[in-house]
């Protein structure tokens, strides 16, 4: 059900605004929203505060990212056997360790005191990062230099030996390979010149030229004509010496980068602090954002927010206990206000809310589809898997994960759904007699032996699913006193489908009474469906006829939707068939060995069986989940559900790493959440456990 919401208006002194927001974030029951326009008040910008928090969060995120990045680098080093395995601090395995730390509010609020400590750590990380960048730049520079030097690597004379004397000029440089022959000719023709060919690279030839200063002018002319470029190096070492030195430097720098990575991974020990402060500043950011919508005068503020109607007294009592000055009032939402949706369901159904929310959350004024989704999702999941052995593994695996990871604050819903799916799979597996691909005394029938029965069962389930959806729609129409739509628009189809069903039975049993009743229902249904399209205010005669006839067109929609349920058949059989393939492969392997050596075949086939059955489970759980969702979204929801609601997220919830230790669980447990009030809806109440 969807909880009844009230708009909360809270007035207090500006000095105490921060404390009030803190109290609200601790109670986790109010979603602060923008205060509506009010005379003599203004919104005071808190942008500087938000900017400050955002920049702190950015630094924290940098630290997370940097540590993780270096962790991956170290993993690569370990793979390359460049360092010891122990260099990598162990991290808890995600699924089997609790992901949240439990903490009291007071301890959490003290987190900001530890910012200097964190600041120091982040600064260290930042300087490491800077050093890495510096090293990388140096490496690039050295590599470039090496590349330029490599053309002279054949030269075993240091660069500074190429010195001109009083009468001769000595030059070292590069000439394009294509101009080389011409250059040689030039040096053959001129006397008092000499050309040393040093080294040929892809494009250039490294040469040393010597010429007497008497023929300086024409030689230099020729040289520049032939694109000779003089080397600017004047080291007292040979090229290969420098290259080697550079290579050593590069190796050293790389070693330094690796060393930094090794020291950065040690910062894993600060992850709890990073996580704590990440949550702290995220909550601060939420508070600041809430603050940015609050209107103020010079002395007082006006805060507005949404609160579940059932929690107003609880909130009052908590305000009274605080030392703050305030004035509070609650009112019903106005016509143009859209309250957030808070689905309140029992422990089982609340897990399946993720399925609905992945599509779209229900609107505030809508029927909560979650109880229905729960029932059908549960049934269909097992049919799609249809193997008791697989179900057992799914249930056990997810139960272990839940037991070890102890999810808090509504996490781990998906795993719970898989656990329930496992239970459903066990049940259907026993019905179909499927155990790891072997058929074993089915309670009803084995899908692989009677595929047609399985197909009919799938479609029948589809019909029930769709009729349920239409039933909800009819209920809503009745509630809204739209009786014509309820009876002729929706229930008429029930009559028509009943007629079709009875008619199908007459094909099996030739019974006169059955035949007559099927015709009666068919005719009645057809007339009612027609009326559903034809009735209504302000329509011309022709429009009524057209509207009525158009309704019959919906039959195609119903049939294609029902046929869509044959995916249950397809997926269910696929699971069984793949399991059979795996078993057959194992059988063939065992069969390859002679009778007395069959045990070798058994030993070989065991890992194959385990691996492929696990693969089959994984791929089919994914398939079953996705296609189950699709049946809910497209076939079921299209009958009655629009969605598009905004979920209720009270200030103080949605922390990522920290779970607050509950302080007033008992008090909250006793609060009965009322269903959202509708004009024509009687109040229904339900006991719910603590809000978290």
């Amino acid at each position: 059900m969807i909880a009844d919401m009230k708009k909360l208006v809270l007035v207090g002194y500006n000095d105490e605004k921060g404390d009030m927001l803190k109290l609200i974030s601790r109670l986790k029951i109010v979603e602060v929203c923008k205060t509506s326009e009010l005379d003599d008040t203004a919104v005071v910008s808190v942008q500087h505060k938000i900017d400050d928090i955002v920049s702190r969060l950015a630094r924290i995120n940098f630290a997370f990212g940097f540590i993780n990045q270096k962790r991956n680098d170290v993993k690569t080093l370990i793979k390359a056997k460049a360092c010891d395995k122990k260099a990598l601090p162990k991290r808890p395995i995600a699924l089997i360790t609790p992901s949240k730390t439990v903490m009291g509010f007071d301890e959490f609020d003290k987190a900001c005191e530890r910012y200097p400590e964190l600041d120091k750590i982040i600064k260290e990380l930042e300087s490491f990062n800077d050093e890495i960048l510096e090293c990388k730049n140096s490496i690039t520079r050295l590599k470039n230099q090496n590349e330029q030097l490599s053309v002279y690597s054949g030269l075993d004379i240091p660069f500074d030996k190429f010195k001109s004397t009083e009468t001769t000029t000595v030059k070292l440089g590069l000439v394009p390979v294509v101009n080389m022959t011409q250059l040689e000719e030039v040096f053959n023709i001129y006397p008092l010149t000499y050309l040393f060919k040093l080294h040929q690279s892809l494009k250039n030839f490294a040469v040393a030229v010597i010429y007497h200063n008497d023929c300086k002018a024409e030689t230099e002319n020729k040289l520049s004509e032939l694109e000779f470029s003089e080397s600017l190096f004047d080291y007292d070492k040979t090229a290969s010496q420098i290259i080697k030195e550079n290579d050593d430097k590069i190796a050293e720098l790389k070693k330094r980068i690796d060393d930094i990575a090794l020291s950065v991974v040690k910062y894993d020990e600060y992850l709890p602090l990073l996580k704590l402060l990440s949550d702290y500043y995220n909550l601060e950011l939420k508070k600041a954002e809430a603050d940015s919508g609050i209107r103020e005068t010079s002395k007082a503020y006006v805060l507005e927010g949404w609160i579940p109607a059932a929690f107003t007294e609880f909130f009052d009592s908590k305000l009274e206990k605080s030392n703050l000055l305030y004035d509070v009032s609650y009112r019903d939402p106005k016509e143009d206000e859209i309250p957030p949706t808070w689905c309140v369901n029992n422990g089982l159904v609340s897990k399946y809310e993720t399925v609905t929310n992945m599509y779209t959350a229900p609107k505030y004024k809508e029927v909560d589809p979650n109880p229905f989704v729960t029932v059908f999702f549960f049934i269909i999941f097992g049919m799609m898997m249809s193997d008791a052995g697989y179900g057992l593994i799914m249930a056990l695996a997810s139960a272990i994960v839940l037991k070890l990871s102890k999810p808090k604050d509504g996490d781990g819903k998906l795993i719970f759904i898989i656990l329930m799916g496992g239970i459903s799979t066990i049940a259907w597996g026993i019905v179909f007699g499927g155990y790891f691909g072997l058929t074993f005394y089915p309670l009803w029938f084995a899908p692989l032996d009677e595929p047609v029965s399985m197909l009919i069962l799938s479609l029948a389930l589809g019909i029930i699913h769709i009729l349920t959806g239409m039933g909800i729609n009819a209920y809503v129409a009745f509630r809204n006193k739209d009786y014509i739509e309820a009876v002729f628009g929706i229930l008429s189809w029930y009559v028509l489908f009943l007629g079709i069903g009875l008619f199908a039975l007459t094909l099996l049993f030739n019974n006169f009474a059955l035949k007559i009743s099927s015709y009666v229902f068919l005719a009645l249904g057809a007339v009612m469906v027609f009326l559903g399209g034809a009735l209504g205010k302000g329509k011309s005669f022709l429009k009524r006829i057209m509207g009525g006839l158009k309704k019959y067109y919906d039959i195609i929609g119903y049939f294609s939707d029902i046929l869509s349920y044959c995916r249950i058949f397809g997926l269910g059989l696929a699971t069984g068939a793949i399991a059979m393939v795996v078993n057959t492969i194992a059988e063939i392997i065992i069969g390859m060995f002679p009778q007395n050596l069959a045990f070798i075949g058994v030993i070989i086939s065991i890992p194959i069986l385990v691996l492929f059955h696990l693969f089959n489970i994984a791929i089919n759980v994914l398939g079953a989940y996705i296609h189950n969702c699709r049946l809910q979204y497209i076939e079921f929801f299209s009958r009655f559900y629009t969605g598009g609601g905004r979920l209720f997220y009270p200030l103080g919830t949605r922390t990522k790493y920290i779970s607050f230790a509950p302080e007033d669980t008992e008090e909250r447990k006793n609060i009965k959440v009322k269903n959202r009030k509708d004009k024509n809806n009687s109040l229904s109440e339900q006991n719910i456990s603590a809000v978290s």
Partner: protein, 160 residues
């Protein structure tokens, strides 16, 4: 081995071969998109991997259909002496999966690649991307259903 058996095996081979080829193309398309996203943000690996795997199911469906055909003609025991017509019947039964498996896997790969691009921008929307890609798979599933029924229902020994 009769010509009928050959035709039945040919059908099974095409169902498995085409579907697997389609899946290979589809998973490849999605994988290329995924590698780009993971290069930017390695944390998205698991979300991207699920999307990449989606077009892989057609290959499995093809395998299922081929296996069904094997079981039907008792390939693992005394192979049925199928008539030509009976062989063609099995062949025809395999065709829906062969055709739809090939084509749907390719297009599912494209839809999955788009979903991966969406995950890169909005990680929380990856579930919706999965649903978009799964829409394409519907038609592979319909083909699977028809292929299974078309292979299972006919009584091959009665077809002359």
């Amino acid at each position: 081995m009769t010509t009928g058996v050959f035709l039945a095996l040919l059908g099974a081979a095409l169902a498995a071969g085409f579907s697997c080829a389609g899946s290979a193309i589809g998973v490849g398309i999605a994988g290329q998109a995924g590698a780009g996203v993971v290069a930017e943000d390695p944390d998205k690996f698991s979300k991207v991997l699920i999307l990449q795997l989606l077009p892989g199911t057609q290959g499995i469906y093809g395998l299922v259909v081929a296996f069904m055909a094997f079981v039907k003609i008792q390939l693992f025991g005394d192979v049925l002496a199928l008539s030509d017509a009976a062989g063609w019947v099995v062949f025809a039964g395999c065709m829906p999966m062969a055709i739809a498996g090939l084509i749907s896997a390719i297009f599912q790969g494209k839809a999955a690649a788009a979903g991966i691009a969406m995950t890169a921008k909005r990680p929380e929307a990856s579930g919706k991307g999965i649903i978009f890609a799964a829409m394409v798979e519907t038609y592979a599933l319909l083909a699977l259903v028809i292929s299974i029924l078309a292979i299972f229902i006919p009584d091959l020994t009665a077809i002359a």
